[in-house]
């Protein structure tokens, strides 16, 4: 069987608290081992004076849902989209991720009715391991469970839904926004009850957090707060965070060795403070370790696709007379989405503030394990911007240089220029590798170079010990830009410029650990609901994806 040894590399493995040790990594049958079962047929890579790190993990992306196809359709008439995003084809996405050292992606927003499309796309997405989160915040079948606390009923149904669709967890996003059939009138207060429902959005956030912990899923509830990039978002976010905090929940996975300690994951946290003042959020996170967030870096690309369910954002984009058109879809009473294109401009003050927010959070939240680096691909940035983002985090000089090209008004008002804090390389590895793995609950196998973890790693052609990461930014950037080796489960996926996309990746899924004796009764009730109000039977959600693609994770 296949054996690979990576010799004498300078290893960074934050999960095992290894910071720059010279060490051999042994991989046999895709897993990291302490010693090989026998000494024949060992492939060797000499990593002397090179840096060995786990493969990166993207905790928030939109790459394989139906909405991504609408983006591709919209982009097919824009030359800059085709050139810069290469039509956003699945193969291109996979190659772009691999060349930046990624081997695991989370598709963060899939409607249960469309999950089969995502599964089908996943099987076409080579090499990468992947998982999807189901968006259940608008599902009518859970109407009663959102009104009253019904842990058994909700968890039974949600668990079965994951089993049927092979999802990994849940996303909450604009609860019951679909009640507003028109585009204009929007709810201002999250505590207001819905027009047609006897509960408010805040109930959904609260109940889903509880149900998620009752289910014992690897990942916590994955939350997007409505009104992002708008002034409403800050209030909404505060309200939700304090509400969840008042529940006094603890993570159902905290008994594990490499645990996820959070009960609540906030997606692209950079987009909620439009005024650029993150101090409240930073204080909250420093005080409350049971919350985590991803940073949502913006990259100022020539053109950005945008998938959102946020009407406010879309309305503001339309109002600004965008030359880009919107494809609006309403999916089976599970929610509305909008797909369009947009451009972030370095001379636009708001865009600059959003960009600065990510850095502000990353530099001021004390616990690195509370944060993950994400770019909300493809909404905020192209994955190729990761090396540049790394330099911004590691070096205040790089930051200052970047600021020179931004909106003058913004530079004058923003505090970022005075912040000289710099992250270490070790911190960067936590943000991109270890922390996402931990937050997703897959830290035992991913983002980890310890025994029994998957043999997923990157070899950078750079000796981290010999350089000053805050000064030699070009070296850091180059080593991340052209990663020498990307290895997945012991196979060399990328060496220098050649990328091998033949192996299949696995789809991670989980249905939690919740068991209930009256499961049949509850499921029959739900099936009746589907029978009465949905265009398909509940059982038709069942996906028959081949076992060779699946990997169950609990």
């Amino acid at each position: 069987m296949s054996k690979l040894i990576v010799k004498n590399g300078i290893v960074f493995d934050p999960i095992n608290k290894i910071e720059g040790e010279i060490k051999d990594i042994l991989i046999e049958n895709g897993k990291i081992v302490e010693r090989f079962s026998n000494q024949s047929d060992i492939k060797e890579i000499n990593a002397k004076n090179k840096t060995v790190i786990p493969s990166a993990i993207d905790i928030h992306s939109h790459i394989a849902s139906q909405q991504t196809n609408w983006l591709r359709l919209l982009g097919s008439k824009h030359k800059s989209f085709q050139e810069y995003w290469n039509n956003l084809s699945l193969e291109y996405i996979a190659k772009a991720y691999i060349s930046n050292g990624y081997t695991f992606i989370l598709e963060a927003n899939v409607y249960p009715s469309l999950s089969k499309q995502t599964m089908f796309n996943f099987t076409q997405l080579p090499v990468l391991d992947k998982a999807m989160l189901l968006n259940v915040s608008n599902i009518w079948a859970l109407e009663l469970e959102y009104q009253r606390e019904m842990v058994n009923e909700a968890s039974t149904f949600l668990s079965d839904l994951l089993l049927k669709t092979k999802g990994f967890g849940f996303k909450v996003y604009n609860p019951f926004e679909a009640e507003n059939w028109n585009f204009q009138k929007l709810r201002n207060d999250l505590t207001n009850k819905g027009r047609l429902f006897n509960f408010s959005p805040i109930d959904v956030y609260e109940k889903m957090t509880k149900y998620n912990e009752a289910l014992g899923l690897p990942h916590s509830v994955h939350v997007h707060v409505e009104g992002y990039e708008q002034s409403y978002a800050e209030e909404n976010l505060k309200l939700i965070l304090h509400k969840i905090k008042s529940l006094n929940l603890i993570s159902s996975k905290s008994n594990l060795n490499i645990n996820r300690s959070q009960i609540f994951h906030l997606a692209h946290a950079s987009s909620y403070n439009i005024d650029g003042d993150n101090s409240g959020l930073i204080k909250f996170y420093n005080d409350n370790q049971e919350f985590d967030l991803d940073l949502g870096f913006m990259g100022f690309d020539p053109i950005n696709p945008l998938i959102t369910s946020d009407r406010r954002l879309i309305n503001s984009l339309i109002a600004a007379e965008s030359p880009f058109k919107v494809i609006t879809t309403a999916v089976e009473s599970e929610g509305d989405t909008f797909s369009t294109l947009r451009i972030f401009n370095k001379q636009n003050e708001t865009d600059c503030i959003l960009w600065a927010n990510s850095l502000d959070l990353a530099l001021n939240i004390k616990n690195m394990w509370q944060m993950q680096l994400s770019i909300n691909f493809p909404n905020y940035s192209h994955i190729n911007k990761i090396p540049e983002i790394a330099t911004l985090l590691l070096s205040s000089n790089a930051r200052k240089k970047f600021l020179e090209n931004l909106n003058k008004e913004f530079v004058r008002n923003n505090k970022l220029i005075n912040n000289n804090k710099e992250l270490t390389f070790y911190d960067f590895i936590i943000l991109t590798r270890s922390s996402p793995a931990k937050s997703l609950g897959i830290g035992t196998v991913k983002g980890n170079l310890g025994k029994n973890a998957d043999g997923d790693l990157n070899i950078l052609n750079i000796n981290i010990d010999e350089i000053d990461t805050s000064k030699d930014i070009e070296k850091i950037k180059n080593s991340l830009k052209s990663i020498e080796y990307v290895i997945k489960e012991g196979k060399i996926i990328k060496k220098d410029d050649s990328i091998d996309i033949t192996p299949n990746g696995k789809i991670f899924w989980s249905s939690g650990t919740f068991e209930y004796e009256d499961k049949k009764l509850i499921m029959n009730r739900k099936k009746d609901f589907y029978q009465k109000y949905y265009s398909i039977f509940y059982d038709s959600l069942n996906t028959s994806i081949g076992n060779e693609f699946l990997r169950e994770f609990n």
Binding site: D528, Q531, K532, Y533, Y534, F537
Partner: protein, 154 residues
């Protein structure tokens, strides 16, 4: 106002009201066709019979309800299955336009089999079991796109 067509339209007021008002009451089951004296005259015989047929056999058992489905015309769209109020009450799937389960419910009137509509149990039809206005139900006939369903009294 199909019923009005078949009244004598003389406005003789022998029944105490205009023909139009009489037709409305007739529709609501407040009066019977026999309450119109001119209608019983021989020259209105044909109209009287049509009217009786339209109203159903509430006054006697001399005529039997039939729902004929022309299988040559029917394309099995299942609109009759969905629209039939009796089906809707007993087969939850038909609420969302789905085909009912098989075997059919006891009260189910229609099912689609082999691409054609099939009449199952006529005795639960509203024209037989319901009261008042509901007895006038003829939705299956009204909405059939292929005009394949016919309600008749023979």
């Amino acid at each position: 106002m199909e019923l009005y067509k078949y009244l004598p339209k003389t406005n003789c007021k022998l029944c105490g009201k205009t023909c139009m008002a009489f037709a409305l009451d007739l529709l609501q089951g407040k009066v019977k066709a026999d309450d119109c004296p001119p209608l019983l005259e021989p020259k209105y015989k044909k109209q009287y019979e049509t009217l009786k047929e339209l109203l159903g056999s509430e006054e006697g058992v001399e005529k039997e309800l039939r729902i004929n489905v022309d299988t040559d015309l029917c394309d099995g769209c299942g609109i009759c299955v969905t629209i039939c109020p009796v089906n809707a009450r007993y087969c939850p799937p038909s609420l969302s336009g789905k085909a009912p389960d098989y075997p059919p419910e006891k009260h189910q009137l229609f099912q689609v089999k082999g691409g054609k509509c099939e009449l199952l149990e006529l005795k639960y039809c509203r024209r037989i079991e319901a009261e008042g206005r509901e007895r006038e139900c003829r939705v299956c006939e009204t909405y059939c796109p292929r005009e394949a369903v016919k309600i008749e009294y023979v």
